[in-house]
Amino acid sequence: MPTITFTQPTGEATEVTVEEGTSLMRAAVTNGIEGIVGECGGQAMCATCHVFVRPEFAGQLADLSADEDEMLDCTTAERTEASRLGCQIKMSTELDGIVVDVPSDQV
């Protein structure tokens, strides 16, 4: 099963293991990761699951959909090149070991 490491702005890192197909947002919320809220239940409607994906994993991610792109324009922490919505990242073996940074604010 793939693992995800969530790194907080404080530097504290938490590794969680999830089933394939689980979204990164669901993994974070279920495991009580601070700073990932997921208020719309994963519908790309709220942008409270914003994460910064470390560049070494960016290439393995599915392309940004138009919806995700537009929603990323309303994140609370400023959007960067590395910004993605956690609910749109489905975990797979290719993404095993992915490291994401949690923004300082989501709402």
Binding site: R26, V29, T30, N31, G32, I33, E34, G38, E39, C40, G41, G42, Q43, A44, M45, C46, D67, E70, M71, D73, C74, V107
Partner: protein
């Protein structure tokens, strides 16, 4: 208002609003005891997926928690599996179903809403379902896996989300709505008419101006009889005919109730230290001056955050711009603001391609925007509504106009 950071806070209801109050209190630095009463058997979960992901083809194996169990524990939030049966605001005590009681310094009603019953004979037959809780959704999944003909009563959000899900499973779906338009309470006529046409085109037999008179057990399945004198065979009936706020506890405690627990602009009841948030609260919206009660995740979470900050000493009127979303099959609807029947609708975008927004103007100002598959419009609208900006239909239909560009312009000037 004083800072009550060490007060004991008791929250009745472990739904979207109640859990938000608890989480935000800790985030704001509250150090006293926080207890949340949960009268459901499940760990607190999110409701919106229940009528969407849960009813489609590929349903999730686990509910999506509002916060993980480890999170609540780490924050020192006590979850108590208990139902409140009465509240004594003079003694600052809540009595529980198991005969025990619990004291508080601050009390938050976050009791949500309950489905309105279907007012017709046969509503309690096996095979007739409502949808509010996780258990309701699990029961519906069972029923969906063997059903072929589905009748949905009520073309509100939940009814249509369910209907669209059942269609993606290839089932025959009929929707009966006694009103003239689907989602008529929340949407402009222009948006509502577009949805009606789209659902028909997607193969949902949507019948407007047609109510239900009775449901019968027809031996092999159910038969739903309508005001038009027709009978629809069904092996699954779902009704979604609205909700009532859960106000009985508050009312019995002597608090004012008027389609919701009445709270002031700070979301406090007439009794100091007693608050109400989310689906159960009738509140005074500071920005618009209107009294309203909303049923949405945004309303539950923003009100939860507001009350937490107020308990911690902040002194502001609640004035967040309401927003809401619904997904119906591939259609993504987002609403910013609250529309009124008399608002002037202005279409922007391409309704034929299923990508557009409808701006609703009231007294020359932008009051609400309904967006279909147009998140950029929605996000911009959320920022614009509430600024009290003057806007005309001509402005919006001018070539090159976008809400996004307008928001950028206005917010740049303002900052």
């Amino acid at each position: 208002m004083g800072n009550n950071c060490a007060d004991s806070v008791l929250i009745i209801g472990a739904g979207q609003a109640g859990i938000q109050v608890a989480d935000s209190l800790r985030a704001e630095g509250h150090t006293g005891p926080i207890t949340v009463l949960n009268n459901e058997v499940h760990h607190p979960y999110q409701r919106p997926p229940l009528s969407k992901d849960y009813m489609g083809v590929d349903w999730p194996s686990e509910p999506l928690p509002l916060r993980g169990p480890g999170f609540l524990e780490a924050k020192g939030i006590t979850m108590l599996g208990a139902e409140a049966t009465s509240v004594d605001t003079a003694a600052r005590t809540v009595h529980l179903a198991d005969g025990t009681s619990i004291g508080y310094s601050q009390l938050v009603f976050a009791t949500g809403a309950a489905n309105r019953q279907l007012p017709c004979p046969g509503a309690d037959l096996a095979g007739v379902h409502a949808l509010r809780t996780l258990d309701d959704a699990l029961g519906l999944q069972d029923a969906l896996s063997t059903a072929r003909k589905v009748v949905v009563i009520g073309a509100g959000f939940i009814g249509l989300e369910f209907a669209a899900g059942a269609r993606t499973r290839g089932l025959d779906v009929t929707v009966l709505e006694f009103a003239q338009r689907p989602m008529g309470r929340a949407l402009s006529a222009m948006a509502s008419d577009w949805f009606a046409a789209r659902h028909l085109a997607d193969g949902i037999d949507l019948r407007l101006n047609e109510g239900v008179t009775a449901i019968h057990d027809a031996g092999e399945g159910l038969s739903v009889e309508s005001t038009a004198g027709r009978a629809y065979p069904a092996d699954l009936v779902l009704y979604g005919v609205g909700v009532n706020p859960r106000t009985d506890l508050a009312e019995a405690a002597g608090l004012e109730v008027q389609n919701g627990i009445v709270v002031d602009a700070a979301l406090q009841t007439a009794v100091s230290g007693v608050w109400a948030v989310g689906d159960c609260a009738s509140f005074q919206h500071a920005a618009s001056g209107e009294r309203m009660r909303l049923e949405s995740v945004q309303n539950a979470t923003d009100q939860g955050r507001h009350v937490a900050r107020t308990i911690m000493g902040a002194n502001a009127a609640y004035s967040e711009t309401p927003w809401f979303w619904s997904t119906q099959g591939p259609i993504r609807l987002q609403i910013a603001g609250v529309s009124h029947p008399g608002d002037l609708p202005v279409m922007i975008g391409d309704p034929a391609a299923g990508k557009f927004s409808i701006a609703l103007l009231r007294e020359g100002k932008l009051a609400a925007v309904e967006s279909v598959n147009s998140p950029a419009d929605h996000i911009a609208a959320r920022k614009l509504i509430g600024l009290g900006l003057e806007l005309t239909a001509g402005d919006i239909t001018t070539a090159g106009f976008t809400f996004k560009a307008l928001a950028k312009e206005v917010l740049m000037v303002g900052s």
